[in-house]
Amino acid sequence: MKEYKINNEQEPKVPSSETIANYKNFRQLSHEYDRLTKKPKVPLYKDKKAFLVLLLIVLMAFVLAQIADEEEEQDKDVNETTTTINQGSE
């Protein structure tokens, strides 16, 4: 929030050209621009850390898929056994 206040005592200060020059830095600006725009030089799959993370994700997905398959097969077996028992009792 901005608030105005009357100043009767002194004339407003204006920074000198030397002071302003201290804040002028095109190299820093250019560097910041590059940092924000340029894509990472190393592709994701060639980056060691990123590769390990990707590998971990793929492994987790594989394990989860295996568990889901096993559970499905177990359910099938239970259903088949129940049907056989029911047919036998009839």
């Binding site: 901005k2 009357i6 100043n7 407003p12 920074p15 302003i20 804040y23 095109f26 600006l29 621009y33």
Partner: protein
């Protein structure tokens, strides 16, 4: 050809150059940094903060220069608008109150402009300052440009990319609101 149109032409050529090679932005940066810095400084009145905002505004200009289109207004007006938006953002984001000092004579000019009584009366001046403090960031931007930074209506019109008549209308609408609030109290 007048000096202004020569500067405008030179700027347009530079913009075209930057649009092809972004490293050329350094020329525009060198040319306008000081002016943009002072513009920001007058509004925030803090050297370091003005420096940070100026770098941020220049970065935004560098990002958006590809989209810049010449619509008749000087290129500098486009830069000033980016800088002013950054200043407004800074005021809005700031959690604490930022005090901006203004001169008594500038307050008196506003009072005279809207025919208020007691131009010399400190209490009346304080009342006007309180009324100004209730305005939005966009409304105070207009007041800053005209009364505290001394820009002409032509410059304000270029800044907002509107006509001079429209700039006058916008300013007097804000002043009218202050006057109405003054009369009802």
């Amino acid at each position: 050809m007048s000096i202004n149109s020569e500067i405008a032409k030179e700027d347009q050529e530079l913009v075209l150059l930057v649009q092809k090679d972004r490293n050329a932005f350094g020329i525009l940066y060198e040319k306008y940094f000081e002016r943009i810095y002072l513009f920001i400084y007058k509004r925030v009145q803090d050297e370091a903060i003005a420096g940070d905002i100026c770098q941020e505004a220049m970065l935004k200009a560098m990002f958006n220069i590809q989209k810049y289109e010449n619509r008749g207004a000087p290129f500098s007006a486009w830069l000033y608008r980016i800088a002013s938006n950054e200043v407004n953002l800074y005021f809005r984001k700031s959690k604490k109150n930022i005090t901006v000092e203004i001169q008594e004579k500038d307050v008196q000019v506003i009072m005279e402009e809207i025919s208020l009584q007691g131009i010399e009366d400190p209490n009346a001046q304080l009342k006007l300052v309180q009324a100004l403090n209730k305005l939005t960031a966009e409304q105070t931007e207009m007041i800053d440009l005209r009364f505290f930074m001394g820009h002409s209506f032509k410059e304000i019109a270029e800044f907002y990319a509107i006509s001079e008549a429209n700039a006058k209308m916008r300013l007097y609408r804000i002043l009218d609101r202050i006057k109405k609030g003054w009369d009802t109290k």
